[in-house]
Symmetry: C2
Subunit: 210 residues, 2 copies
């Protein structure tokens, strides 16, 4: 959610927020192929020049939108690393599953990665989009890596566990299913994945359910 | 490598092999953007109609080429699951690293996923390409999943280890670096990843090097 415009807030920030909200509505209504920059400007009530000066292509704008959506997912540290990872990764999966279906017809067997795959390709094709995407993930992932570091420091993960490798195993499995194999991802899968990965990091096994 | 044409081999299979070899040469010489179907037909010495009847678009043809390249990587079972995974995944990484640089200028800081990302997007965009890509990975991954199953059955992995989840963590980490974060992937990373993932599966730790 964007906070309502406040007095004293810079006008450019207001415009950015309005553009991103307009972009979100348009993307979820239309999908990637039918997303048109000029319509985003009209819907946001800004001049086209304002939009294009800030984000020169739809890929640049959509990367900024994905950054905003990711930033809405909190990284909480309750002291229970298993629980915290489950909550965080399930929220990420929910967002990815919603995003992959954007603009696609309702066939529930549709295994396409949709707009996520388009952004991956845009990142590969355009160096500046690539830099933006990698910067976005680096910034977000720093929060989760710090969560894993703290868990290791308090002894909840084995000394010597690499937070980076552990996080690659977790996030990687999700994106692999999304982008490559098309296998479904749900909360039960996230739980199994976290259990497997944490066992490798020497975490105390999850208590049996009674 | 394609076996030389033999007497009695169906002509269409000869043509397929020649087309795929021509496509490989063209792709590695030119890259994805500059890859032109008609040139592949000329180079292979087949009629354009033969090419398009078999593979209607360049994405279809390139998925078949990736399948062929993947099939050239053997999945060996020597009874040493750690060693076998390291050999297999390092071979996959070598192929991916070569492929991502295809047709790109030699900047060694280039972190683009290149043609791999284009194929991921093509798979997301076109249902039949998606089906071909997912079928290709499912077929290949079956071999590695069987390798993991056998390791579990002989007690090298903890009973109850899910081969699927374990493999998702391994392959996923590699593709996540390739497609999302752009972090480098080399043999040392593969070794660390395999160690982490196998620790989660209860494998005997790697002996310290002396």
């Amino acid at each position: 959610m964007t906070a309502p415009a406040r007095r004293g807030r810079p006008r450019s920030e207001d415009a950015d927020g309005r553009i991103l909200e307009a972009a979100r509505e348009l993307l979820f209504a239309r999908g990637y192929d039918q997303f048109v920059m000029d319509e985003a400007a009209v819907r946001a009530g800004v001049a086209k020049t304002t939009l294009y000066r800030r984000w020169p292509t739809k890929d640049h704008l959509l990367v900024a939108l994905v950054a905003k959506i990711q930033d809405e997912v909190p990284v909480d540290d309750t002291g229970d690393i298993r629980g915290d990872l489950n909550v965080y990764l399930t929220a990420i999966v929910t967002g990815l599953n919603r995003m992959r279906r954007v603009g696609r017809t309702g066939d529930h067997d549709d295994r396409s990665a949709g707009v996520i795959a388009e952004l991956v390709a845009a990142a590969a094709r355009h160096p500046d989009v690539g830099e933006a995407v990698r910067g976005l993930f680096a910034r977000r992932n720093t929060l989760v890596l710090a969560l894993l570091d703290r868990a290791r420091e308090r002894g909840a993960l084995r000394a010597g566990t690499s937070s980076t490798v552990l996080f690659d195993q977790l996030a990687g499995a999700l994106y692999y299913r999304l982008l490559v194999t098309g296998e479904p991802i749900d909360a039960a899968y996230v739980e199994e994945l976290v259990d497997h990965a944490l066992a490798g990091a020497g975490a105390t096994p999850r208590p049996e359910r009674t």
